[in-house]
Symmetry: C2
Subunit: 405 residues, 2 copies
Amino acid sequence: MPLKTPRNENFAKLTAGYLFPVINQKKKDYLAANPNASLISLGIGDTTHPLPAAVSDAMASYSKGLGSQEGYEGYDPKCESTLKEKIASVLYNGMIKPDEVFVSDGSKCDIGRLQLLFGTKATVAVQDPAYPVYVDSSVIMGRSGLNNPETKQYAGLTYMPCTPDNGFFPDISLAKDSDIIYFCNPNNPTGACATKPQLESLVNFAKEHGKVIIFDSAYSSFITDPACPKSIYEIEGAKEVAIETTSFSKLAGFTGVRLGWIVCPAELKFADGTPVKNDLGRIMSTLFNGASSVAQQGGIAALDNINQVMDIVKYYLENAKLVRETLDSCGIKYYGGDNAPYIFAHFPGRDSWDAFEEILTKCQVVTTPGFGFGPAGQGFVRISAFGQRENVVEACKRLANHFKK
Amino acid sequence: MPLKTPRNENFAKLTAGYLFPVINQKKKDYLAANPNASLISLGIGDTTHPLPAAVSDAMASYSKGLGSQEGYEGYDPKCESTLKEKIASVLYNGMIKPDEVFVSDGSKCDIGRLQLLFGTKATVAVQDPAYPVYVDSSVIMGRSGLNNPETKQYAGLTYMPCTPDNGFFPDISLAKDSDIIYFCNPNNPTGACATKPQLESLVNFAKEHGKVIIFDSAYSSFITDPACPKSIYEIEGAKEVAIETTSFSKLAGFTGVRLGWIVCPAELKFADGTPVKNDLGRIMSTLFNGASSVAQQGGIAALDNINQVMDIVKYYLENAKLVRETLDSCGIKYYGGDNAPYIFAHFPGRDSWDAFEEILTKCQVVTTPGFGFGPAGQGFVRISAFGQRENVVEACKRLANHFKK
């Protein structure tokens, strides 16, 4: 007999599975049908480069120590306060305080947890296209109506198109009726990175209208342009309006190790005067139990060896350059890939999934259809620069062979 | 200027901070005022025994490997399917299927995520007393009204008292108007463990009325009584009504390593026919990114060396026996401590926090007031058996000195 317990009806609104498992399944299906295909995945943004030895050694040594009385730790490992201090000093140059840092198991989980901070009636604006978790988590939390089969947009959510026409920086005033503005910078999937004046306009808009910004800077380590801030807190007044969520995943190759953090400044307050960080602290202690102590040790070692970590970021940016050069040689217009590990290739007038299929079947290269990140991603394909060099070189060769005029 | 974004008003309903940070703060305050005190913590249920070498070595070796191209892994480490298979075979003896297992970073986080499965109107019943996360997460999700200052109960939640009078097994019919029944077995904090007929009555009630049971078996490895099932799925028909959530924390000392799992059987379905596991899968892929790969390697090693792991469980049960003998010698009535790592000591007519303070100041032993687990915990103090033997022996000596007639 089925349950009478009511289902969260919002799950029925979701029009498809979470994007990346769907891509993974398409990859598997293709391999099942073409067992000899030598697929190269530049789809899911998954790190491939080994960790610096200092990082893997630190985790190994700590793990080994868990087998001894002196080295054993349970809840609340001592290193967490050290990690917060190093995040504040190494990555924020002291702009934020260690007690404004909440260490976590990653950004995706944090985006889910942050949803709990706000009232059920709070409305949402997102860049279109953007990382799908902002929309999906908002739908699951009941912040939307149904998906419109024509526009492919969820009712009640505000989509701020990011297109070549606006340099991929949206018209923020579209968010005038939204309480929460999600902003991913550098943007996943477009690779666009906002300048300081652009972020100032975002912060000023939020301040003027009392809105909160959830600023996802998961890819900030890839920013090379000195005109582009790496953190929203480089913008004056941002502490009164912005929560920053970010991660060691792409910074230090921790996609499997799992480590991230949220910054929630003391200045950020609800209308009743409650500091947002108080409620966030309650969430992080009640519905979360800290990041793995082993991962935290790795995080500390990564920050202690930040130059080695950044060498790997540079390696991926070199990959991105190879992809950009290939697309140039094919006359395919693209965006991103200079301040982000993603290249957003434009196939004007094409369906994203159709272009995805062509690249999959003709080049045996897995990408991600731009449409999976939002309706405005139609006609684009995201190519990831995460990959071993020889695979990226081979993928570029295949793309060139197929697309070169 | 404060935000206009609405606060989740449910946070204002919470009457106190999450229990264990509050206890930790009281411990710190006492130490600040009494810097020479030699405190022994039998408060927070935190594991203290080193991991078996096979487990710490497996994590160390995997961590080390992350520094090499052959050993590096990102998202979706290969071991996850192995871990699911071993959980199903070693811990469930094949009663459940690997694809019904969802690997996670721990039970507390899972209890939060499971809240998202059900409609906002779904109502909740809890054992009273019980692990505070069921109530706190239900309040945060808006399943309750305000806390009544007289009864200390939240309006809209159903409390099922577990007392010496009913052998700590509640009157399940109290949950007649509740959609979700949280059931912690062995119970934290009472240490009570339900027999098979008792669990049959729970499952039959849920089946008859179409209710879902969230069965928290985090302490099941401590069950020694063969009359007590270790999993709800030992009860016929449970797969149609119960989700089981549990953890490596207390089974294998992974409180800091972070690893847990949910079992959601294929048979469990909502009224619209949707398998609950479909929606759970969407939650686990959209709002979670998998447990740390290092922790998963440790979990596999723990299951491959289950006898060594169980030796540590026995060590804690020996600790529990020492505490029980001490309380016996003092004429203090207690419950639990034979199928659970917790001893629930009764101080009839006393305020729990008052007894907690007496034990803290007179014996320098940190416990947890039973009231922190729910109104029916009034008059009780929970003593944890997690500790190094010499500390437990010393704590017992102090308790005996103070309380012996």
